[in-house]
């Protein structure tokens, strides 16, 4: 089985994000592997360990992704392709999905595993659109992947009514929830080996396409401006005798906030 996983480098959401004049202030930002993509990598490596799958990672962007790719190598990924093109800095979800489609078509993959969304856009579209563009099944928000045989997997998906058990014919795309696994911390040996591994880097032309061909020059939507979120402020904090302060707070919820 050949597995393709997708990773994106995104802004670290643990840090403060500032907005000035409609744009995000770059200074002080740090970039990390998208958390859900780390779950996708872990899922791929687990399938490799249990079923001798070959795992390939593709990262997209206009950034130097060497650090996150080395991390994925250390986790156990076999091959890595980085599509590095300045045009991708402004790309929207369908454009990313079109790039992934080109990468998929250049290989001979049975299964694509993607994070269910990127923590910078929180869009959750690229993986599902990839399945749609390729005309192959896609199951999103997956919390378990079991291999049935060479051409079938069974996945569990968290839906609105409960957990859906889905029999999937390969090739297919799954997008994973962070509930699927706990990504491993790479061992020292893996980290050392990862340093020696080669990363295939190419731009869109190297992939045999162009920004125009994949729809990038006519995006379906575009960000006009960023705005700061009105931050909630801490209100009244009560300390002291539990019985007293609890009674006080309930009175405030009833009389002032009027929510009880």
């Amino acid at each position: 089985m050949k597995i393709l996983t997708t990773v994106k480098k995104v802004v670290d959401v643990e840090l403060n994000i500032h907005v000035e004049n409609g744009a995000i202030v770059e200074k002080g930002l740090q970039y990390v592997i998208n958390a859900w993509d780390e779950n996708a990598v872990e899922a791929a490596v687990q399938l490799k360990e249990a079923h001798k799958a070959e795992t390939t990672l593709v990262s997209l962007g206009s950034t130097d992704n060497t650090d996150i790719i080395r991390k994925c190598y250390a986790m156990g990924i076999d091959n890595a392709i980085h599509i590095d093109d300045p045009a991708l800095a402004e790309a929207d979800s369908p454009t990313f999905a079109r790039v992934l489609q080109k990468v998929y078509e250049a290989g001979d993959y049975d299964l694509v595993i993607a994070g269910k969304q990127a923590q910078d856009t929180d869009a959750g579209q690229a993986g599902i659109m990839l399945g749609e563009f390729l005309g192959i099944p896609c199951v999103s928000n997956v919390i378990e992947i079991k291999v049935t045989d060479d051409t079938h997997i069974q996945v569990s998906r968290l839906g609105d009514a409960g957990t859906e058990i889905v029999d999937v014919t390969l090739p297919a795309v799954v997008t994973v929830s962070d509930s699927i696994n706990e990504p491993r911390l790479p061992a020292m040996r893996g980290i050392m080996m990862a340093k020696k591994k080669k990363i295939t880097v190419m731009d869109l032309a190297g992939l045999g396409t162009s920004f125009e061909e994949i729809g990038g020059t006519a995006p379906a939507s575009a960000v006009v401006e960023f705005m700061p979120v009105q931050k909630r402020k801490g209100g009244q904090k009560f300390e002291g005798d539990p019985a007293e302060i609890t009674a006080q707070v309930v009175q405030l919820l009833v009389n002032e906030a009027k929510v009880l």
Binding site: I17, A161, D178, M227, V259
Partner: protein, 319 residues
């Protein structure tokens, strides 16, 4: 005139409040409205969909649609969108919407926007606003495509009780089953519980509750308040709470009138799921817990002392 199709949000046969909220917003924008219901035994919902503000009801009702499957669901919605000549298709915030919207967008060659909190029609131009980066910023986006498929974030719009529509049912052919991603079974969530997405009050439990006894104590409070019962990530990871109870960036996004965070420290990912609440009450023994930076009311104390007291006080006011 803009044509807006709202996808009925149906759970266990019941029409959810978000459908009326979306239809009210569509009417406020001066749009022609329709609703589409996809499922099994959903034809009976047509009068409710009309009352909620739709002037046409597209119905795809078939036993094969009983358990959600993304491809046929999306196909039915796309059929309705084409029949209505929809400029926009709106889903309420749900896993159904998140799974179906990108598919419908590809099929209609439309733009797709998830988790939107506002939409504005300025002449020929449509703008949407949505949070991004774990809710830390808002982004305003211009829709360039002629059509838009959107998932609306919970609590973004309010239902206007004055808004109503007319019944005009159009029956759709049932979509084909997806044989390549065949839903084998549904392990249903415990029924009879209050749905987190609908609840006016949500009580969530975090690591501070420690064990099953702690969870039970907080659950009691939720029951007393007729509240939805949610969880932090930590309690799900510890196996004490089910996945579908997790509130946060990756789980449920809730916008109740009152959110009660019990023993929850307030990780960014959790806050992203609940900071749309009108009022937040936090109970935590650590006075430095980040949850107090967003809570309107904070009780610093051991939850095992505070929760029984809280239950007592609530009983008094409800008596």
């Amino acid at each position: 005139m803009t044509n807006i199709l709202v996808v009925a949000d149906i759970k266990q046969g019941v029409l959810k409040g978000s459908t009326a909220e979306l239809l009210s917003k569509a009417k406020e924008l001066g749009a022609a409205t329709a609703a589409v219901a996809v499922g099994s035994n959903v034809t009976d919902l047509a009068p409710q969909l009309a009352a909620a503000g739709s002037d046409t009801q597209y119905i795809a009702d078939d036993p094969s649609l009983e358990i959600f499957s993304a491809a046929p669901f999306a196909a039915a919605v796309a059929d309705a969108a084409k029949a209505f000549n929809a400029d926009m298709v709106w889903f309420g915030f749900s896993e159904t919407g998140k799974a179906a919207a990108p598919r419908v967008a590809v099929q209609l060659e439309a733009a797709c926007a998830t988790e939107i909190i506002d939409v504005a029609i300025d002449g020929d131009v449509v703008h949407i606003t949505r949070p991004a980066i774990a809710n830390k910023v808002l982004q305003k986006m211009k829709i360039n495509a002629p059509k838009l498929v959107a998932v609306v974030r919970a609590g973004a719009f309010e239902a206007d009780p004055e808004v109503t529509g007319t019944e005009n049912v159009v029956t759709l052919d049932p979509p084909e089953k997806d044989m390549a991603a065949a839903v084998k079974e549904l392990i249903s969530d415990a029924s009879g519980e209050i749905d987190l997405a609908d609840a006016d009050i949500v009580v969530s439990v975090g690591r501070g509750a420690k064990d099953q006894a702690g969870v039970d104590l907080v659950k009691d409070l939720a029951d007393d308040l007729a509240a939805g019962f949610g969880s932090s990530r930590a309690m799900v990871d510890a196996g004490l709470m089910a996945h579908n109870k997790q509130v946060g960036q990756t789980g449920k996004i809730v916008a109740p009138s009152l959110y009660v965070a019990v023993g929850i420290s307030g990780a960014i990912q959790h806050l992203a799921g609940m900071n749309g609440a009108k009022v937040i009450l936090a109970v935590n023994k650590d006075p430095e817990a980040p949850i107090f930076n967003v809570a309107d009311f904070g009780i610093v104390g051991n939850l095992f002392d505070v929760i029984p007291l809280l239950k007592e006080e609530i009983k008094k006011i409800r008596a």
